[in-house]
């Protein structure tokens, strides 16, 4: 099973992309999920819906709209250009942004639900123990929301690895820069190089399986430290 340097490059790029996207998403989604979990504002419904919106479009089409938006003619692209950013399309940074947008709901939702499940009691207890909002968020809410974070990380990571349409559009399939492994496999399939496609797919699934099985295995039934002899 020999991998070409291009395959290796794609694997490396994929890992880098998926890790970075997952990490950034978790950081960025945390305040959003927190707000969504606690707010009584009427904005909650609409914002939740907006978060899920990118899902509804076919990825390549979403990619096309992103191209329009981020291109020199697009409102966002023009603005970024003005403040001195280099263009996002066809760059690794662009891949990161696009993947984040597309995997957003899979990270927000589990975290949000985990925050909801905590309720107010532990936070109230912390507040009476001189724990500031920030402190109680870090030391009470976050640890209690751990299962949600694991779910979010898994879904976000896996979805970014497999994501393809958006990445293809925004990335421009540049070897060693934006050609991730999913594009590489896709190319093999389209070029009828089925043997290479199988090899890469298998490799990817095996790797993912090991990572995920490990992550899940570590996800304990945190809520209830096993009751001696408990039956339910």
């Amino acid at each position: 099973m020999l991998l070409s340097p291009e395959d290796l490059g794609a694997i490396w790029l994929t890992l880098k992309l998926a890790s970075l996207v997952t990490l950034l998403l978790i950081v960025l989604c945390t305040p959003l999920a927190w707000w969504l979990a606690r707010t009584q504002s009427w904005l909650k419904g609409p914002i939740n819906a907006i978060v899920a919106m990118p899902l509804v479009l076919p990825p390549t089409v979403l990619g096309f709209y992103l191209l329009l938006l981020l291109g020199p003619q697009g409102s966002v692209g023009a603005f970024l250009g003005q403040i001195g950013f280099s263009a996002l399309p066809f760059s690794f940074a662009g891949l990161v942004v696009a993947s984040m947008l597309y995997s957003l709901p899979f990270v927000v939702q589990p975290i949000q639900n985990a925050f909801i499940a905590i309720g107010t009691k532990p936070l109230e207890a912390a507040a009476t123990l001189r724990s500031s909002p920030w402190d109680r968020f870090l030391y009470v809410a976050l640890p209690l929301a751990k299962p949600g974070y694991i779910s979010a990380a898994i879904l976000g990571f896996a979805h970014t690895v497999g994501e393809f349409g958006v990445v293809l559009m925004i990335g421009g399939n540049i070897p060693y820069e934006t050609r991730v492994i999913s594009i590489q496999i896709y190319d093999h399939v389209e070029a009828l190089e089925y043997g290479q496609a199988h090899t890469l797919s298998l490799l990817m699934m095996a790797f993912a399986f090991i990572v995920l099985a490990f992550l899940y295995g570590n996800q304990k039934r945190q809520k209830h430290h096993v009751v001696a002899g408990g039956v339910l």
Partner: protein, 226 residues
């Protein structure tokens, strides 16, 4: 029973019109399915219920015949693509100047798309490939390549002449001489599993009729006769 055509995505616009005409002429319904040639090929291999396969290349129909998945003698070249260098903005100077000035040059994936292969060959024959290689961004197919230029993320791109004709932005075009690249022939075959071979053959004949070939040419292709 309707005749079921599997059509490469780059031929969507022409085939829609031709199918309508065929329906009017013969009273036979036509169903159209689109996809990349590679996908359609894989689907036919696994029993897709298509009667005719209109590919974007010749290799895949030939491969189908070789695998006894298509009728041996049914292969026809129904269209020949014309490659064009396209930009939304005016292009001045020689082709080389234009290529040197560009920041991003869009082409279709040479491995997958005939237009991509042609673009690469043209660049090589112009001895430009090595100097512009790093500026190239690849669309998965010619449709994406067009979008790169359309959205101006790439300043120029090698697209199909047919696309520029169909699109709402005309911009500036430089035609690429066809001798700089191998032919962009698009072949069609009748699928072996078709239960509608008579009608299929009728459609293949229709497709190659000179008046129809002229219509195809109007979409930006060279005709089979050229």
């Amino acid at each position: 029973r309707a005749l079921h055509l599997a059509v490469a995505s780059n031929f969507i616009a022409p085939i829609k019109q031709l199918a309508m005409e065929f329906q009017q002429e013969t009273g036979n319904d036509i169903t159209l399915s689109f996809g990349s040639s590679g996908k359609l090929f894989a689907q036919i291999q696994h029993g897709a219920p298509f009667d005719i396969f209109l590919s974007a290349d010749v290799a895949k129909p030939e491969a189908l015949i070789k695998n006894r998945l298509a009728e041996p003698n049914s292969l026809v070249i129904y269209a020949k693509g014309k490659l064009a260098l396209w930009s939304v903005h005016p292009m001045t100077g020689s082709l080389e100047d234009v290529l040197q000035r560009a920041h991003r040059i869009a082409i279709a994936n040479p491995k997958l798309a005939p237009y991509g292969k042609a673009a690469k060959e043209s660049l090589m024959s112009l001895s430009q490939w090595d100097t512009v290689k790093t500026k190239i961004v690849q669309g998965e197919n010619i449709g994406q390549t067009y979008q790169f230029v359309y959205s101006q993320n790439a300043d120029i791109g090698f697209v199909a002449y047919s696309q520029v004709l169909a699109g709402d932005i005309k911009g500036d075009i430089i035609a690429i001489p066809s001798q700089r690249h191998s032919k962009i022939n698009q072949a069609a075959v009748v699928v072996s599993q078709s239960k509608n071979k008579e009608l299929a053959k009728q459609f293949m004949a229709f497709l190659m009729r000179p008046d129809i070939q002229t219509k195809i040419a109007r979409f930006g292709y060279s005709t089979a006769a050229d």
